[in-house]
């Protein structure tokens, strides 16, 4: 697995722990959603940097009170055609104000990078051999969008009317 974050290939500092592997204070660890909810008291008090992996069907709003404690939320795509994690990403960014890393895991493919980026993802676990350049090509395929998005891109109508306003000056 390679990790692309903010458009560059980075080495992954995080491990994804099995539910029965103890969390160590000096290793940034991503735990499962179920484990996080079950061991929450202990985990939030540990000194480790923490992430949670959320599968489709699990409710990210249950993490709300701990979002400031979490550095990474990994949203999984068991199949790239399962679009539930797009909703989870938008809810995290736009409703819950999560500012940490939202990582796409699972079936993460080139033709979905742009959708993911626009839904609020900022890191991508991709197959070995996928280069950052390919990711950049994929997310630059469009110059305009019809919707505003949590990654900060404005909708085309904002540009239209800025353009009209500029033309009128």
């Amino acid at each position: 697995m390679a990790l692309i974050k903010n458009g560059t290939q980075v080495s992954d500092q995080w491990i994804t722990a099995d539910d029965d592997t103890p969390v160590q204070a000096d290793i940034p660890t991503i735990v499962s959603y179920k484990r996080f909810l079950a061991e929450r008291e202990t985990l939030v008090r540990s000194r480790a940097e923490l992430g949670v992996k959320v599968s489709p069907g699990e409710d990210v709003t249950a993490l709300e009170r701990d979002l400031a404690r979490l550095q990474v939320i990994a949203l999984d795509f068991p199949k790239f055609t399962d679009g539930r994690s797009y909703s989870a990403a938008r809810i995290l960014r736009q409703r819950l104000g999560f500012e940490g890393e939202i990582r796409a895991t699972g079936d993460v493919l080139r033709d979905q990078y742009l959708f993911m980026q626009r839904a609020g993802f900022d890191s991508y676990e991709v197959n070995d051999g996928v280069e950052a350049r390919q990711w950049l090509d994929a997310v630059r395929e469009f110059s305009h969008y019809y919707q505003p998005a949590p990654n900060g891109t404005s909708a085309v109508w904002a540009r239209r009317h800025a353009h009209l306003a500029a033309a009128a000056e």
């Binding site: 679009g83 797009y86 959708f115 949590p150 009317h161």
Partner: protein
Amino acid sequence: MYRYDEFDAQLVQERVAQFRGQVARRVAGEMTEDEFKPLRLMNGLYLQIHAYMLRVAIPYGTFNAPQMRKLAHIARVYDKGYGHFTTRQNIQYNWITLEQTPDILEELASVEMHAIQTSGNCIRNTTADPYAGAAVDEHEDPRIWAEIIRQWSSFHPEFSFLPRKFKIAVTGAENDRAAVRVHDIGLVIVRNDAGEVGFKVMVGGGQGRTPMIAKTIREFVPKDNLLSYLEAVLRVYNMLGRRDNKYKARIKILVHEVGVEEVTRLVEAEWEAMKQETSVDLPAEERDRIAAYFAPPAFEVLADTDTGFEARKFEDRDFRHWVRTNVKPHRQAGYAIVDISLKPTGGIPGDITADQMDAVADIAEAYAVDSEIRATYQQNLVLPHVRLQDLSAVYDRLVEVGLATGNIGLAGDIIACPGLDYCDLANARSIPVSQAISERFADLNRQYDIGPLEIKISGCINACGHHHVGHIGILGVDRKGEEHYQLTLGGRADDAAAIGKITGPGFSADGIVDAVETVVETYLTLRLDPAERFIDTLERLGFQPFKERLYGAKAA
């Protein structure tokens, strides 16, 4: 009609380039077919029995003469010289190669057209009343909102991988001509007690193997909040719609399983929360910009009647009959709406040759305001704004190219899906059955006598031929390797939308034609008077007399 600005044009161009890249990577083997399939479907490209099929979007059925000419050109150069108008106001080409598809999309982009989201598990091409902007009974033009929805739903970052396809229809008129009650979301433009314009929102309608009539989840959404409300519905569906079984994945199943009250509650909660977030609702200046494209065209001030038109109706029986069925009143004095039937006797419903497309473009350019053309879900075409004084010339030109069949709304105006002749999903052929019924009722005088009658045929349970909402519906099934046809009665797609019920045992391909005739003959003997339509007689008397005639007194 809407015209692209530089931004729309660039978006569509970039979509062509993106798809060209996807096709190249597929052809080079860099992508598996499983990875490619959802991508090509999101651009309307299906792999059918014989070849690829490309479905081109005609957003809410509105297009114009230059666009029609381009469709003709594509039919000639890339297909076998014809195209097929579908039940979703789109056009399909049945003999396409994968490698040529990007070039076709490039051609389409040059006339502000595309194939974006005409298939796939995403928000599909939004449909609307084909008489929009012309109908006498219209409150507000639904195309403004259909275009707003088109833009919002294109390449949506959250709703491009839904559990299943998602179809939205909009009407702004008293009478529903857009079948909104059999859509995932049906929108009806209404006015509330305060006189404000908004939408009544219905959710969970649809056909397919589990037909359902949509249920109202909100009587009034202010029009300025339409997109955020739709976004709330789509999010609830994206999160909770079933993904374990594609046959139970539509929102209608969610509504059915969870209950309309719970879905309503979830949508309301989602919508309430969204109000605190960056809004997708359009600012007024953008809404006004889009609405301006749909301002009424510059109609001439004309008299209510035209003497030349009246004279020809008096003198020419064929013209008079054509006018009776294919010409509808227009809101503007001196104008009319012209329906062009794509259902010649014995023809393939919705099929049109490249030459006929060019002819329609020529006629639209000569006689239709702004050369506007509409496609209907009944697989016909419409010239929405024609002067009464030009109807005679329009009719003559249509006669020349075999497009003047005066059967709109009658027995010959059959909806049929492509069926087993083309479609990879089909279990039985629909086209030959449709042709045989059309031949059986070839006599137009007989059709006039029968009156309004909607016959709809699907070649499989997916119901693209709308058989569930046909007054007479026919469903082709495979029974031990034989094509077999079930008969349903009493369906309708209008304001009183209803799902037809199966009469009893099915019929062979020949038997189904006789069965339809038996049903029609039974109606003719039972109706109170010629003004009582088939659907009314059926409602008054129920199934019993029809079943007796179909299966004998004992079986019934």
